[in-house]
Symmetry: C2
Subunit: 262 residues, 2 copies
Amino acid sequence: MTASGDGTVGKALDVLDQVASFGRPVRFTELLEHSPFPKATLYRFVQTLTNQRMLSFDPDRGTYAPGVRLVRLAHAAWQTASLAPIARDEIDALSAEVGETVHLAQLDHAQVIYVDKRNAAEPVQMFSQSGKVGPAYCTGVGKAMMAYLPEAALHDVLGQQSYHQFTPTTHTSAESLQAELADIRANGYGFDREEHEPGIICVAVPILTDTNRVLGALSVTSTTTRTNLAGLESLVPRIQTTADAISKEASQWHFPATVTPH
Amino acid sequence: MTASGDGTVGKALDVLDQVASFGRPVRFTELLEHSPFPKATLYRFVQTLTNQRMLSFDPDRGTYAPGVRLVRLAHAAWQTASLAPIARDEIDALSAEVGETVHLAQLDHAQVIYVDKRNAAEPVQMFSQSGKVGPAYCTGVGKAMMAYLPEAALHDVLGQQSYHQFTPTTHTSAESLQAELADIRANGYGFDREEHEPGIICVAVPILTDTNRVLGALSVTSTTTRTNLAGLESLVPRIQTTADAISKEASQWHFPATVTPH
DNA sequence: CAACTAGTTTCATTATTTGAAACTTAGTTT
DNA sequence: AAACTAAGTTTCAAATAATGAAACTAGTTG
């Protein structure tokens, strides 16, 4: 499906992805049917990954599922590689002030990963939200990040979008999308105009380093019954402030003095 | 450090663990100093993992950190391989009723992974709890799970504990621990008698399949200022009920009808 | 500018992966 | 109970990929 190459490790990780993509425990034969690898090869990969606890095997049912070691690694990833812990307080404040759902997202490959979320009303749900994946071409955060990608990376990402038309306003080609990205770059923010779900709109701003690398994006989401694009637009300065604060913290944060002298 | 073997894939995952264990973005040379691999080999692993987005590279600082692809995979793991989504409602109810912190944990290798948590008072913090790792030999959930492990697996796990004495009551040998495990097996539940942190006590019960395989464990935690072991013991029937309900749901859940006929 | 440091590439040697086919269970049918 | 079947597991020579010492590059520093 992904055909990533990168030798044995890449192939093994493809298998891991494949198991994860099922979204449920899966039998060896099922995997085999959807796998480019021959029986024995797939078998050895699945064995290795299970040994490594990246997959877990249910002996009662003979099924494989993503393993708990991933949950543990992800904890580390979330803590050290995501903006979430840095952005925590800022997002809390923003969400309280605007009284709408706030999303913090980052880009993985060509997809958006939501690394944190505040729903003004309900308390947060753990992993159930964090780690969730979405399309880049029809979400506010996705477009905000793409708008600031360097040429080469953008080309890559554009080529990998599916351009499935979820609603009448969804972009269905790289061309129309690219036109909007130019607008976003000019304004510093972008919208989701019910492109993913009818009735759902949002404003999003990118979070950039001082060297203008894309770190992530921040969005405030609402519904067409509660507000409109102009209403959301009025929040931009406030969101911008949050994005800047996160960016500044991110640049200060990372990095310890020097290495212990062995 | 872990020396897991399993060919190239195992080695690459060791490198991944190593990066994760730093808990902060890390330079190539730092990794090299702590790595059993020669320069060129480590270099290639780090490249491959970065290509695969299992590591992310910060070009501004020249540092590596666990990548966001892990967050995404973990979402899948948490959803399909952990008890958390199944146990959600049950844990909500339990936590509301007993008014104390409830932990849901599973075993990874020789360590406890907390996959969900309810703190009656404060709203939940996302990843900061889920994915967190703890020692098995001095936590209620750890001991409850070990008590029901088959001979061979138990031997393995016992050998991998560090037996660091956190408090005066911490087990410091496999022998004393094993004696308690027999008790736990006899009673169906176990305590944490301030073995990890002074003042913190808990009761834990295992979550088992009908074939008696260990799925996870459930605990209610409190402090010595608020209650005592007898107080916690009185909650056991209620906790047991929750554990049974989770076990039943887990057995019904997993598994679709039959495979689509190709 | 020479010496040092951090990161990257090369390439012959070595070790691992590969996958068709054979084999083993366990379950089902005749 | 023998004959089929489907799912999972093992084998082994050939093909491929990983290895790591050493050389190289680029960027700092005394």
